[in-house]
Symmetry: C2
């Protein structure tokens, strides 16, 4: 496994050892894992719950207590009995597992269903709460909102640009001073972003994802000292108002990045919780041994985890999101470490967010397998597509899969999720080596990958600077994630050829619906050569990628002007080594 | 994983790494794995085939070519198209997998169906044989025989005694000389077994499994120099004739042990195949680089693997089995390393064996998970129950699971397989530490485990000497498997208390159908105390096992005489530490 460098994306989560540990933990008791069918419940249609009982329990009955008013089910709530469907052997947990299924009745649009599950042993009289190992004391609450879950229509032709705020631009600054430390506060701010809107409009993007803008301790701000703020050194609330207003005027939407799983240990609620035994905030965090023992993000003590199961915390965080929507009219949220809070939390997050702004977008950072991502269907509009990022690295950078396998991946990745599940594509972000660095600076590989990325149905995300050749001076494996967050190039360092390439790519995608339809017919998929025809309502576009070291001939099956070079091509067309074309064909 | 010492049973096969490797290998191409539903096809009922296509192939069509006359399907054989059922994510292989299903029409009783599977790529025009990685060159042939597959009725009340022939008894020998080497030929023979038939009749068993009796190089004889023999130093064919005749007269059936996966490198066919480039036997083995490179059992060069896919080899081995049945009237076969040859091989083996002797028994050694064992349903009458052996070790020896978990395991293990799948129970065999050695000589633990074993539905197997306290002088981890094959105790070393215990246990099981019904109601399952009521047509038997270090009271819910001690018990009954009772209750 470790032989495949693309697995960096998932770290230990993709290893058999971790999978086995997880399976053993889940299957030691009664396990639901919020596995419902369909994942996105629709009005007036029953919902099936899947429940596994591991080999260590002699459970003879499984029951589901259910509330349809958005509250935890009380003792008088209706109970639905599950049916035993059979026994399977689980290789990973190396044990038998009993499979139970329960059905909850269909409910009208907008119903907020809450339920808890228990297994019962007739033999011992004992009852076991489902998924109880993940929580302390109280039974785990599950839930969903019945609704026709669809991402906002504006996603259909969105091209998203990720700005790492501290490293993008600052008003009145040449922004070319060397970093004095990898994690210094360099000074990028919201006015800086606003001043660069013309640059972004010219580039062609129509949505910006801003990394966190809250008061925080660090330059990256994924550690909120105050969740409901705009940091003073970014320009404060006024700067955000002005940025959103200007962006909207120019057809650009603004997404904020919320890290709700944890806070900074300098967060006043946490300080109060630690200093004051009677603090009303003590339960907001997950103290295991107050005041110094508490759960924290990957064990990092300055990032204490919030108790996102507590109704007060849920209210506080969701009111915070609502405040950004109401006060600043932002267009949605990228949700950091969405694997932290429960799926019920995200269900409620989307429900409350969309109640304030119907076309707000909610997209989670879920660094996990497609099977895990799929569980967020109906809870969030979508998840960033990490599995696809891995396939891009495997195919374009590491060459560990060939064109046929890459094609097979893309086809299956499209078909796997609900049609309405959003899973934006990206080639890199602030938590990994940039694509260009991984490709050892070979910008032709970046161009090939981006050309493919921009022909897929899901909206593409560009990590700031990719379009001007921004790379790294060291590897994240040696230098940490800071290495991939260097200050944006604004001066002569810019690769204007790459910039022009990206301009044309973005313009092409926005102009030709075929590049956003997701309907593809493969033409060639051999070795490192991959060509396909994208089908649109108003015409087709042929994409041909020559990832090999030799010239190849691809028949584009028509004639047209390459959207990237502007050259006319027709029929059998010669492609230079490591080059691609994107040709609307008549 | 390695922390659980009971996993020795499966070795590396139970590790996540091995499972992941297997999953990646299977799911890199078109994979069937002989997964059919039902595993034991019955007359005039369609059979569903499950086929997976791994992420590396762009397969757009899957077809099955099928013959119903027992031959490999030719180019004119009918073709059945598979249907694409969906895409799943496989965590272990860490890739998408397309699921296809095909249906073959129901056929009359006795039909021998053969089929091969191909995936086709419309994009590249390529075709891929299913499971091709496992074989060289030719497409893998799958198959089954349509029949009402049931083990012989005599299995219902069988108690099987495993004799390691070289170490059991020799005519006219005190059989108490110390071994001069762990792997010496000690001298046990078939006449020795025959002379001890009265002992076995007195013990109460009614079937004997003899380890291999062929001409071989070693004392264990799992390395046939001649497959179709009775070794001269065991007494030759005459000795087997006399043993079978005498045994049958006394109501005891005889099972032979066939190791068909591999031969000795002194086997004349193998010698010829290596010495003679034009040898007709060259294809009988799996040469990778003739004459010195060939596949062998776990890489042991003196155990070359037979090419059990070759029709001539199939005929030779099956005629060998038929010869034992016809010539000696033996009652069936224990099949060594049944994971080696294909499931088609075993299907054919059972078909041909039962054509000679309808109530011959075929049982495989399959050291693998229940999911793997289940694949042998319909192919063999059954498999030795290694997963259950593991649970016995976990519960009685290592104490790594409690009574509730052990009970849950037994219940699930019964329900998991087809009702007609035979999976005999055993506490140890010649390839692992004896139970008594693993239990550090504590014979009370052996008694508890055996009491439980003799109350389960499946026929129990006793490894020779267990009934007289035969143990080891060293651990198999240090000394190899030879350590568990010491000469039988015939003299004063015998534990006569244990022997009497086993006599009564066997008599009890044979007398009370409740102990063979598999219908149990748990009474107590807490910590190390486990009690249950077995239900029979003609009355119930309560089994109570106190594996704890303290006295416990168990209500037997009636009155009766303990089959083991002969003592009368009724109602709430006190059990000493580490003791059990088996009480027919009125």
């Amino acid at each position: 496994v470790t032989a495949d460098p693309s697995l960096f994306v998932f770290g230990p989560h993709a290893t058999p050892e971790h999978l086995a540990e997880t399976a053993r933990a889940n299957l030691s008791g009664v396990w639901h894992g919020a596995r419902i069918h369909p994942y996105a419940p629709v009005p007036n249609t029953p919902v099936r719950l899947h429940i596994d009982v591991g080999a260590n329990l002699a459970v003879s009955r499984v029951s589901v207590r259910c509330d349809s008013e958005g509250s935890a089910p009380g003792p008088d709530a209706p109970v639905f009995e599950a049916t035993h469907r059979g026994t399977r052997w689980d290789d990973l947990a190396w044990r038998y597992v009993d499979e139970w299924v329960a059905e909850l009745p269909g409910k009208p649009d907008g119903t907020r269903v809450r339920y808890a599950i228990q297994g019962h042993s007739a033999m011992t009289g004992a009852s076991y709460d489902a998924d109880s190992s993940a929580y302390q004391g109280t039974p785990t609450l599950f839930g969903y909102t019945v609704r026709d879950a669809k991402p906002p229509a504006w996603l259909d032709d969105a091209v998203i640009y990720q700005i790492f705020v501290d490293r993008f631009y600052r008003h009145g600054d040449a922004f070319d001073r060397p970093l004095t430390a990898p994690d210094e506060v360099y000074g990028g701010d919201l006015q800086g972003v606003r001043e660069k809107l013309p640059y972004l409009v010219d580039l062609g993007i129509n949505a910006i994802w801003l990394t966190p803008i809250v008061e925080a301790e660090t330059y990256h701000r994924y550690d909120a000292v105050d969740f409901r703020t705009v940091a003073a050194n970014l320009g404060g609330p006024d700067a955000l108002h002005r940025l959103v207003d200007d962006a909207h005027r120019q057809g650009i939407r603004i997404l904020l990045d919320l890290a709700l799983n944890h806070a900074s240990w300098r967060n006043p609620y946490f300080l109060d919780a630690r200093q004051n035994a009677a603090s009303r905030y003590r339960s907001w965090f997950r103290f295991t041994d107050w005041p110094d023992g508490y759960e924290s993000f990957f064990g990092v003590s300055h990032l204490p985890e919030l108790n996102t199961d507590l109704p007060e915390v849920v209210d506080y965080l969701m009111e915070t999101a609502a405040w950004y929507l109401r006060e600043f009219d932002v267009d949605g949220f990228r949700l950091d470490y969405a694997l932290g809070p429960s799926l019920l939390f995200w269900s409620e997050f989307s429900t409350r967010t969309k109640a304030v702004k119907l076309d707000a977008y909610t997209v989670g950072e879920v660094t996990a397998s497609p099977a895990e991502l799929a569980r967020f269907q109906g809870r969030l509009d979508g998840c960033l597509d990490f599995p696809e990022l891995q396939a891009f690295r495997q195919y374009f950078v590491h060459r560990s899969i060939d064109s046929a396998a890459f094609h097979a991946f893309l086809e299956r990745n499209d078909a796997f999720y609900d049609a309405h599940f959003s899973h934006p594509s990206f080639l890199d972000n602030h938590d990994m080596n940039r694509f260009l660095w991984a490709a050892k600076g070979d910008k032709q590989l970046l161009k090939l990958a981006a050309t493919c990325q921009f022909s897929l149905r899901q909206p593409p995300i560009i990590y700031y600077g990719s379009e001007v050749g921004l790379s790294q001076t060291g590897d994240v494996s040696a230098c940490g994630f800071d290495a991939s967050r260097l200050p944006m190039f604004w001066g002569d360092a810019r690769d204007t050829d790459l910039l022009e390439f990206y301009r044309r790519l973005i313009r092409g995608r926005r102009e030709y619906s075929a590049l956003r339809s997701g309907r593809r017919t493969p033409l060639v998929a051999e070795g490192n050569v991959y060509a396909y025809r994208c089908h649109g309502e108003d015409g087709d576009v042929v994409v041909a990628l020559n990832g090999s070291d030799g010239e190849v001939i691809v028949d584009v099956g028509g004639a047209g002007r390459d959207l990237i070079t502007g050259e006319e091509v027709s029929g059998p067309t010669s492609l230079d080594p490591l080059s691609g074309i994107m040709v609307p064909v008549a």
